[in-house]
Amino acid sequence: MISDITLGQFFPGSSVMHRLDPRVKLCMTVYYIGLIFCSRNWITLALTVLTALSGVVLSKVPAKLYLKSLKPIWFLIAFTGILNLFYGSGEPIWSFGFLSITRAGIINAVMIAVRLVVLILISSVLTFTTSPTQLTDAIERVLKPLALLHVPVHEFAMMMTIALRFVPTLLEETDKIMSAQKARGADLESGGLAQRIRALIPILIPLFVSAFRRAFDLATAMESRCYHGGAGRTRMKTLHLGRVDYGVLALCAAYLVLFVLLTALLPAAI
């Protein structure tokens, strides 16, 4: 069933990672993703792997879910890994025609694969432990300085919240419409490409109609409750940085120093 697809799935809980301020988590995620791609030797790479794994453990989310989030991109990881394998320079270890594998190629491939896995794990920690509303809240706060440049930050955040809120609703709706059309004999599974695309029309049209209907209803409902954009709007749940948050930020700073030192002192892997 289509509703089996899970998107940015939040896994409710009360672990340290869940309790961390979403702004801190968001910044930390971006920061680590930056560091992953700056790690050029094995020690710093191992360090980022270790950090990612401790994030995974601290989140208390079943490991099975992390494996599941990796599943759709195994192919991508393997593909980029293999591509990089043949891209190294230096003395070939093995060659076949124009293809040749070098030591640098192997190291490159491994590094890329590890980086991608860590990237997914770290962003999964964020999405598993942060509810969509918290996440958009955090994005709005973090991007607030852009409002000075007349970027409608609040509106973007609101749009994102609403979009996230309606993902499951629309999936459910798609399921229902598909069932209804299948009951009228719609054939969604066979035929060539053109026929399959044509078979989507009876599903897409009702889906769009209902999405627009929902959008108008929602707009009316928001306006009748006097929503008029972000200006002067206060929040029901204001975000406060706690002691743990400051601790984590301090750790991140210390980590950065360590990372810079290790990168500067140790030779790069390639």
């Binding site: 009228r184 004999g185 109609v209």
Partner: protein, 291 residues
């Protein structure tokens, strides 16, 4: 002869997840050819899940569905044929409309069956007659119709496939009393004229009482009772324990019968009650003021 028969039919949602729930649990029932069967049960009792298995939209976790004695999943590739024989009208079917005109939308099912344009149009017009859609509405866009008209157009879209069994899930949900009466009357007419099997799913004992010959009562995924409507209505106590309420008119006449009045305690409709009360009124004259 049974058109449809289920054997130990079971359906579990979310197998292998923490949200596992058995929505239909070992249901074995038979539907007789040509009958009007009401399916009733509280919210979440598994009615919608059960009927979706009857036309092969979802595949049972365990058990079988037999259509004219044959297992519908014997040849999974041919499941579409089953869907033409067992027509299904979903709850709020108006959200399935998509064509440029109402007529074309009603023709969608027949054309999927492989009928020619002319044959499909003939079927569609015939179906539109059953749901009393005026000629001029057929050329309009389905999105320009009123809610009740859309509902009737969607029902016509299924009737047009000329199924042996017509299943309707809450066809009257969310309509005003007049729209509801109209749709139920049209379904009854259709059943009477075509003489084929109809399954009507509803929360409302009133709607079931007015239309069905037999009733299947679902409770927590299990088939609790299956029998003639009047017999089921006699189980007022058990039904209310399952979160179902007898129609007001039935309850009133039961009270009267309890007080010793010569009225039946399983009346199915206001009309029936009217004919039972009328002679009392004539006989009683002035002295029956207490009742």
């Amino acid at each position: 002869m049974n058109v449809l028969e289920t054997k130990d039919l079971t359906y579990t949602y979310g197998v292998g997840t923490p949200f596992e729930i058995t929505a239909v649990d070992g249901v074995s029932v038979s539907v007789e050819a040509g009958e009007f069967l009401g399916v009733i049960g509280h919210t979440g009792s598994g009615k919608s899940t059960l009927i979706q298995m009857l036309n092969g939209l979802i595949r049972p976790t365990a058990g079988q569905v037999l259509l004219n004695g044959e297992d519908i999943w014997a040849k999974p590739k041919e499941i579409r044929r089953v869907r033409f024989k067992v027509g299904m009208v979903f709850q709020y079917p108006e959200y399935q409309l998509f064509e440029e005109t109402v007529l074309k939308d009603i023709m969608f099912g027949p054309k999927n069956m492989g009928l020619s344009d002319a044959d499909a149009e003939a079927k569609a017009r015939e179906a539109a007659r059953f749901t009393e859609l005026r000629e001029d509405l057929l050329e309009k866009s389905p999105f320009e119709l009123s809610g009740g008209e859309k509902r009737r157009a969607a029902i016509a879209g299924v009737i047009a496939m000329d199924p042996d069994v017509l299943i309707l899930d809450e066809p009257a949900a969310g309509l005003d009393p007049k729209g509801r009466d109209l749709i139920l009357a049209q379904i009854s007419n259709y059943h009477r004229e075509r003489q084929n099997t109809v399954l009507l799913v509803s929360h409302s004992m009133e709607d079931i009482g007015r239309t069905a010959d037999r009733v299947l009562v679902m409770n927590r995924g299990k088939a609790e009772f299956l029998g003639p409507t009047r017999r089921i209505f006699a189980e007022g106590q058990e039904l209310s324990e399952m979160g179902l309420r007898l129609p007001q008119i039935t309850s009133i006449l039961r009270r009267l019968s309890g007080m010793g009045m010569p009225v039946g305690d399983t009346v199915l409709s206001v009309d029936e009650a009217f004919f039972q009360l009328l002679p009392l009124l004539k006989r009683g004259g002035g002295k029956g003021a207490g009742a």
